[in-house]
Subunit: 333 residues, 2 copies
């Protein structure tokens, strides 16, 4: 097995948390001990929580010393590792999809942690160009750690691209749930695991856009109820020529939510992270700034008319969600 | 990483050759050195060629000694390994999706090879119940090798199920190629890699069944031309009430092929391995003995009517094929 094999496992792990880490990038990490045994494969899961490197180090230490009890408060993980690593990861290697950070943000810099634990090598897919976080590789090199860049560089870029687009002002993706034969109507299509992921995506999105027609017909609530109470519900952008809506439609009653009704779809570009949930009409008229499509597939063929449009996509990632599956695609233009 | 992790990699590898190994089962193998470094992940690829264990041992030895030049003739691999292993795999572990064989078939028994190379442990998903090949674990145990059964047993069974159905008399699967929104008409849908896999499947199938209507409308050739010349073309079963066909339809001109025209679909149960390629009508009326569906998905939405039927499936395996992907599904009834 080579560097590409290990990096591909780290990249795949990171894709499972794509967008959910907003405003941070999706990042994965894999640790090999000095004999090349895989100790852990982890990802950054949510902003404010541990970075991928910290999660991977935590898992690796747990595997090597099952008696180690980590603090419940994630914020203490970093310091706990510094005090309790016991040189267990000396000469280990870490594969990271993005250059380890060098800055004190919500968590201290990962590059320092890797240095302190005396890793022998850091293998990186994508260089960090974010001015506030870049420079981790230099810290590592200065400490005499071998640094290798560019392993699965293209795949690493595709993983990072949504984050880079957010940084540049806007990342907009279109979400679709359908049967195996493309049916998007007739009630609930996808399973609980799929809808849970949708609610997590809504929770991090700055704005959730939807077509006026879908609002009138489906009367949706578009909230994050599957996550439990006290989770942020996204503001709503209703794309509609007509400004009049029946305000008893549930989405209007969600607390702490702004609802914008506009016929200017370009306004969505003002939001850094925009999720679009729509029907056939929206899918047929995706504006140019929408670059990605996220499709949830059920495990059924359904005897109804399917969605019909012309669209060519590039497959980025596929994964099971219990008995359903989903895929991230990039629009080819 | 635990046994389940390694076994899942072996199972995934084996699925890539599902059916292509007929009349043998699809089997995958993964080797860890004594320090738990992954040395290789391989599968049995075709009847008459190396078993998964032999392929995995070959890859592992190549990794450990890149100067080792294996004989071009696959039949000599086994003996070459016996003479040249140099104890490089002493105390290694091997994960196999199916109990290593104990019999001299087209290749000598894998259990003996594992014994001779002094592996320390063999981890197995599924016990071999095939009377001619079973008993490998006993050979290993007698040699003092640790044997562990039942790791990812259910997944191992699903991998093996098509083979077991062939053994019991018949395995029939329905193949479908479609756009992301379920369109199956309008010319070639899927990419070259998908069609290459279809031709490989045709090459091993005992019979290829197709609906009479599709024959009349599509005028197919249903051969294996993408594999090159001199590859076996499958016999054809045309399911049709009417016996009359225009014999200039290309499929009738393929050499060394029997074409059966019948309105009795149950006759397909007389064949051990039956692939069904059909259109909407066939999909809507799949007989009870058809248990699996193999779907090739293109990377496009197409603005045409989609296939429309009711069918509930269990997802078994998904994999990319360049810019397309495909999935093996089991029909829920």
């Amino acid at each position: 097995m080579n560097d590409e094999f290990y990096m591909s496992l780290a990249i795949k792990k990171a894709w499972q948390y794509q967008i959910l880490t907003y405003p941070n990038p999706a990042v994965g990490a894999l640790i090999l001990d000095k004999n090349n045994q895989i100790l852990s494969i982890e990802a950054h899961q949510k902003a404010g929580c541990n970075h991928a490197e910290v999660n991977a180090i935590k898992s690796a230490l747990k595997k090597l010393n099952p008696n180690l009890i980590f603090p419940k408060d994630e914020k203490q993980t970093y310091d706990f590792i510094l005090k309790n690593h016991n040189n267990l990861l000396k000469e280990a290697k870490i594969y990271v999809t993005l250059e380890p950070c060098s800055h004190y943000g919500k968590t201290p810099p990962c590059a320092n942690l890797i240095k302190e634990l005396c890793f022998s090598e850091v293998i990186i897919s994508q260089k960090d160009i974010n001015p506030t976080a870049k420079g981790g590789a230099q810290i590592l090199k200065n400490a005499g750690i071998k640094v290798k860049f560019g392993v699965l560089q293209d795949e690493g870029f595709l993983l990072l691209e949504p984050f880079l687009r957010c940084l540049n002002g806007n990342f907009s993706f279109f979400k679709l749930g359908m049967s195996l034969n493309g049916v998007i109507k007739g009630g609930v299509i996808t399973n609980n695991a799929s809808r849970l992921l949708v609610h997590k995506l809504r929770n991090v999105s700055e704005i959730l856009a939807i077509g006026g027609n879908t609002v009138r017909v489906d009367r949706p609530i578009l909230d994050t109820r599957l996550l439990g109470e006290n989770f942020k519900n996204p503001d709503i952008f209703i794309y509609s020529k007509k400004n009049e809506f029946d305000k008893t439609i549930p989405l209007f009653s969600v607390q702490n939510r702004e609802v914008i009704i506009s016929n200017d779809i370009e306004k969505l570009k003002n939001y850094k992270l925009c999720m679009i949930e729509g029907g056939e009409q929206m899918a047929r008229n995706l504006p140019n700034f929408v670059t990605h499509v996220l499709i949830f597939f059920s495990n059924k063929f359904i005897n109804l008319d399917s969605i019909s449009l012309n669209l060519e996509l590039e497959l980025l990632f596929l994964d099971k969600l219990d008995d359903n599956y989903y895929g991230w695609f990039k629009i080819k233009r």
